[in-house]
Symmetry: C2
Subunit: 370 residues, 2 copies
């Protein structure tokens, strides 16, 4: 195993365990204080090692977004898994193979036809009904008839309600996030009350996004929370107030492969595939292009250096101030902080783990694909 | 092996061999007519099966963008490989292992320090000097002193010059592409002439991008061309005139997982990871969001349906005209045409191959990572 960042082939993914632990502890404490179970979403980390750390002190339940993730975590001993993205009926056989292996698998739905398919399937899934708390991605309305109809179709498979306030990503200040968090809570709690007043009890009342769980001041009536990116954080979360740049645990290690002093730019071997084409920070105060360029100790040592253009395997690093080219040779290694950790990490099959420094203390695998 | 698109788990990558063959033949004929060797760039396809088809009738040489690709293609019998992205000096040992295996491996550089590292390395690489023909990504100037300096440093490892006219992607009409192609040619030919008049002969004079190779009308003085995305094409290439939508060979098969008739949208199980966050068509006449939604026979059967929002595992499909929801049930399969095939394909480890229809005739692997 390589012992130091300097020994690694680039581009590769570096995870700082010290920062990860701090991020995990902060969210865990917060959820305890607000009286809800933390069911961490592993769609960002996709790693059994990270999952084991994330559920320490929690009930052990996790959230995933694909069946490939559910299978991977089942292989690694996790037995309480919520798949928090609707699945097509054609995948129910594959999902029920997890039930057969003893996994307590929960699905979600917002569609009467899908609910009928689940209810008719031999697999005795637990099912949460997805609600739209304002994101307009998926989910039924808390006040509509479809909510009750789906619950009745599901019968004894019905286990509760859930929502994801993805529109918290549209906020640019904490007051906005608090308001979204209040709506997120109100949506599921009112849905649970409507169901209850119709004789249908909600065991699970589930919410979650990293911004809302970071800033919510009241989760009364909620039973569990499902944030995910809080584990790693990223530039976008820093921009919208979920964290500071010091809390970003995952970076892409890259090498300088070219320099152009005259035009004040240099070239990295990390481009669109290594960084992703995510441009989340474009609409925030500090547009980081395709990522901020830090030195190997995560210091912004090259001024406000950022990846302005991302070709498939090339990243063009620029700065508004003069770059100190005495520090930039062909072969110099840098770390690129990602706009959106979930998307960037998906290009890699492993983490090289450091513990606050530049020594490699472990390699942890990841699951990708579907 | 699944026999039909309907049998596949989604999201997955579908490749139409019939279209692929037509795209390959068209470029191959064009390069023959213009009197240059075709050294196809496999960074898009990353597949030995596709590479074997692409070099049929050619010299057999290929282009790649990473050492992982070079190793994969070497494993599959390819012996003449150009790595057309600069590598950091730390990777020369790994690259020279390919020389030891009998691969005729060529590298590129645009940096005097990198050239010194290559010249001092035990691996007897062939090296092309990269020129900037206007893209401002990498490359020295054809008229500058550095060109001659690097050639002298490389000594007998020097093999020629190359450029990539990536700025052809900025064109919005064919006249513009023709002009970029003329500049691309002029850059390498004038560099080769300068070297020659200084007693340094250029064996290789190499150019290439899909737009310029599609529209160049003169490649005199050029020895080889390195287009890549022409094999698969994509919505962006269609928008800038490299192809028509009928020429797009690769699509993402996805399933409907939710519907919202009231808001005229539906939800697919293909989001940012399955489609990429590439937004190349944003700056073209027909902004396709994160991809166009076609039926399983590749007909735009849902009007101008496109993915307007891409979450990690969710794609929100919208249309400016009313969507016919009688054709959209939960579980309905669709094919999403990508903005940028190179980036979208990188999320997958295989192709499900069809031959103009919806029957699966083969599974072909792909190499990813670094």
């Amino acid at each position: 195993m390589p012992m130091h960042l300097e020994d690694l082939q680039t581009p590769c993914l570096v995870l700082d365990r010290r920062i990860l632990e701090r991020n995990l502890a902060r969210m865990s404490e917060r959820m305890h204080r607000l009286g809800v179970s933390l069911r961490p979403h592993l769609k960002t980390a996709k790693s059994a090692e990270v999952a084991r750390m994330a559920v320490a002190g929690e009930s052990g339940g996790i959230t995933v977004s694909t069946l490939a993730e559910a299978e991977y975590f089942a292989d690694h001993g996790f037995r309480d898994i919520l798949v928090a993205a609707s699945q097509p009926p054609q995948k129910l056989d594959r999902a029920s193979a997890l039930l057969d292996r003893g996994v307590d698998l929960a699905l979600i739905t917002d569609d009467t036809d899908a609910a009928r398919a689940i209810a008719a399937h031999r697999g005795r899934f637990k099912v949460l009904i997805e609600l739209d708390s304002g994101d307009r991605r998926a989910g039924v309305r808390a006040e509509g008839d479809v909510l009750l109809e789906i619950a009745r179709i599901l019968g004894d498979r019905f286990a509760g309600v859930m929502t994801h306030a993805g529109h918290s990503y549209g906020c640019r200040d904490i007051e906005c996030v608090r308001q979204v968090a209040a709506n997120e809570r109100a949506t599921v709690v009112s849905a649970a009350e409507r169901l209850s007043s119709n004789g249908i009890e909600c065991g699970v009342v589930s919410v979650g996004s990293t911004p809302t769980m970071t800033h919510a001041d009241n989760l009364d009536g909620v039973t569990e929370a499902r944030p995910g990116v809080y584990m790693f954080q990223d530039l976008f979360q820093a921009e919208i107030g979920s964290c500071s740049r010091d809390d970003i645990a995952v970076t892409v290690l890259a090498s300088v492969i070219g320099r152009n002093e005259l035009e004040n730019r240099f070239l990295l071997d990390a481009g669109a595939l290594a960084l992703s084409k995510d441009r989340s920070t474009q609409a925030t105060p500090h547009d980081a292009g395709y990522g901020e360029v830090w030195d190997t100790e995560c210091k912004p040592a090259y001024g406000d250096c950022r990846i302005e253009r991302a070709y498939q395997e090339h990243g063009v690093a620029v700065s508004d101030s003069p770059i100190d080219f005495r520090r930039i040779a062909v072969g110099t290694k840098v770390r690129v902080a990602p706009n959106h950790a979930c998307i960037t990490a998906a290009a890699y099959d492993r983490y090289y783990v450091v513990d606050g420094g530049t020594e490699i203390i472990a390699e942890w695998d990841r699951v990708n694909g579907w």
